[in-house]
Symmetry: D2
């Protein structure tokens, strides 16, 4: 934690809406990944790279993931286009210690589903509704500097039941104008890796320009970044461990 | 669980609003404890008793708690009037295995605070708002037969941050018309006892006449009821346990 | 829970050791699945069926799983022989509400890995060591009637770090003579389904004839059995829900 | 976390064994608090103070606790001598954000019992047994640099069932030569404060001179240190929050 080398962040984005839709392009001229890269850059202390769906192999490889401390994932309408092999590689990297921050519609991505073991389904509606994200954990590093609630004038609604395992930590709950609630910022651990889900970020809204949301995403990246890295596939026959010698004390229990 | 003897339920109620306020008396002519006792009676399988604040010793004793499988607790404006000794006895009974279901404004009762180890503070407002309780756990026995959400036309608002330890299980989340959310049905374990908090139930609304809320309260009682009963105060020096003999195998780890 | 129809149990066994090894055959003449089926039969209240690896489609189908309340899974040396499609079907059934009890070496089965999202690796040794399983939750239905600890004279050692997500509930911890510890009985929830892992049960020991272990396995099956059953793949656009009307109260928050 | 001011550590010690027993005095000539203060000093980045039982008011006051980021607590035979008022102040400070690291026999201290809401009872034996602490979370900051297991040649045995609420995080499990296991390093959150329990440290052994144990204790202190500080006793009527205006969209849900 006291290491001064920068945290290596890889931001993965589907990058289709920004190309195909003028309104989205106007909001995110450099793509959602570009906006998020700027947020990390402003904070400082990160070495940021990006990758997108239509690059060869989606811009992903075992070697690149081995050099990544935390991966961010934004995908929406082309989850099926992501190869099973890429999803497997990401999952393995998480188990070995890489952090994973899944954003908004990534709740149904292959990487999230494989890692959590559930479908990630939910209730949704696009109606330009107000969202309020309530801060349950002002003590948590991901929410450092975040007020009691964050309000977004318009967002897509996501409502419960969100089909995920019980979070290890539940950090924010969303209220939506139309009558729903949602577990919007939550964490899980898988293997040696930390996983964070951050709900807001529909492509038709300027959500990733909101300073509070940028702060949450950047702090989620910093918190989830790998502390250790270790192959999780091994199964140990502990022949090399120091043996416990014969206790030699007949009277003990 | 297959035992055919009835579950012994003790419903404790402050019982002041019903006496002092005509509107509340009209809603709950036999007291909130009376309405809840009826709910258990309708379901069947329970032996129900009640106790109230102004009875001698608040109607509580170690002997009575020892004969109780689950205690329900409704209190609001007279938490300070409950003796420390009564709170201590209830806490001990929970640790020894008795179930505890804390209702609505009981979030700041001495019994809840001692048992959870927090203040139970929250945000609140009385504005006749609509409340929607979303069902996160349709698989949980407490929510058997409860639909995707339960709607109450008017309730008091309780909002986060609710100062409680991370629940063992989070069962329902409330949405309030005015912009807040709340962890409304949740469980914790303390010692051998199960603790459930159920939010709705402000005295000026007919909440405990709502069939869904009655069902949740009764099922919370059934779920929390004691499985085992054992003094939690002992500290064991295990002299009487069967000793592990000398392993006698030099080659093992 | 008050339903009088029997709980439908399906016991799946690899069933290779019992055929290929005389010592194992002597311990389990009707297979491990046969011994476990007897344990459920002795308790009563269950309709038990069995399935094995080398049956067509491993004895599994969507229809059969849809009619199963809880599936038990024992596999060891032929995890790779289980088809991906079978593992997928079991995983889907769990998400829809079916219970799953994974036994001993099933910690590396495809069904356990997919459901939990981890590899399930651990440390192990075969040295005829004593195992003590300590009871952390005498209040839990799975451990009803189980003493402070259960001792097995000889078992295979499994040691930490066990590569699994943080359990929702940790019920028993094992001590091994040679110096290791293990989280031996634990539960997780995935979708609407309950998952239990029960460690002991190496094929060369008479573990499944031990009355305490039989009791734990049967009670794990009873506890995990489906309460509700619902397709988890849907993603809801809630057009049909009752709308929240215009609040119409300007003064509220 | 990026703040360069030192973390303010207050080490509280009962400080009786070291005065009354020559063997303990030889191991800890400056008291257990002195040995622990050295450990923090060697690491650097901490401003360390100490307090002991027999100082006026046990060396504790609201003002001093308000200036403390994390409090360590070692007590054993004089728990009853600690005033209820001191225990109350420590509990309040934790709820407001102060970290608390409870060591060894502090499991039955008033501060631990009040904060967790349980008795903290356990099984114990003094028989100079070997202890092995297994590392379940190599990714956790408290265990940074700690190997797969830490071995202590001789320690007091503590065995399950440890009467504590389900930990938020379970970091290390102990194996004892005589046949027991124990949840030895675990964390809980109460209010805004982080609580850590670290088992080893019986006064008759040189445990706090072991470099691994020193590292764990220091890292527990660093991890638990306050991030925010806020009075937890308030109950908010949110009159000053920005109101959610009339949604004004009849068609939305």
């Amino acid at each position: 934690m006291s290491d001064s080398s920068p945290t290596r962040v890889l931001i993965w984005n589907e990058y289709l809406h920004e190309i195909e839709n003028d309104g989205v392009a106007a909001l995110y001229p450099n793509g959602i990944h570009g906006a998020l890269a700027d947020a990390f850059g402003e904070r400082g202390g990160f070495a940021v790279e990006t990758a997108t769906l239509r690059e060869p192999d989606h811009g992903l490889s075992e070697a690149r993931l081995a050099d990544t401390d935390v991966l961010l994932w934004w995908g929406h309408k082309a989850h099926a286009e992501v190869s099973d092999e890429a999803a497997r590689m990401v999952h393995e990297a998480v188990l070995s210690g890489m952090g994973l921050v899944v954003l908004h519609s990534g709740h149904m991505s292959k990487v999230f589903q494989r890692t959590l073991g559930t479908h990630g389904t939910l209730r949704w509606r696009e109606a330009d509704e107000k969202e309020r994200l309530w801060n349950l954990r002002p003590d948590h590093p991901i929410l450092e500097g975040i007020p009691e609630y964050v309000e977004l004038a318009q967002e897509e609604m996501y409502g419960e039941r969100f089909d995920v395992p019980e979070p290890d930590e539940l950090l924010m709950l969303s209220w939506f104008q139309g009558g729903e609630v949602f577990r919007s910022v939550a964490t899980w651990r898988r293997g040696l890796g930390r996983v964070v889900y951050v709900r807001p970020g529909h492509e038709t809204y300027p959500t990733y320009h909101d300073p509070h949301i940028r702060r949450i995403v950047v702090q989620a990246g910093a918190w989830a970044a790998a502390r250790v890295r270790q192959d999780a596939r091994r199964c140990t026959n502990p022949a090399s461990l120091e043996p416990v010698p014969n206790p030699g004390k007949e009277h003990i229990l």
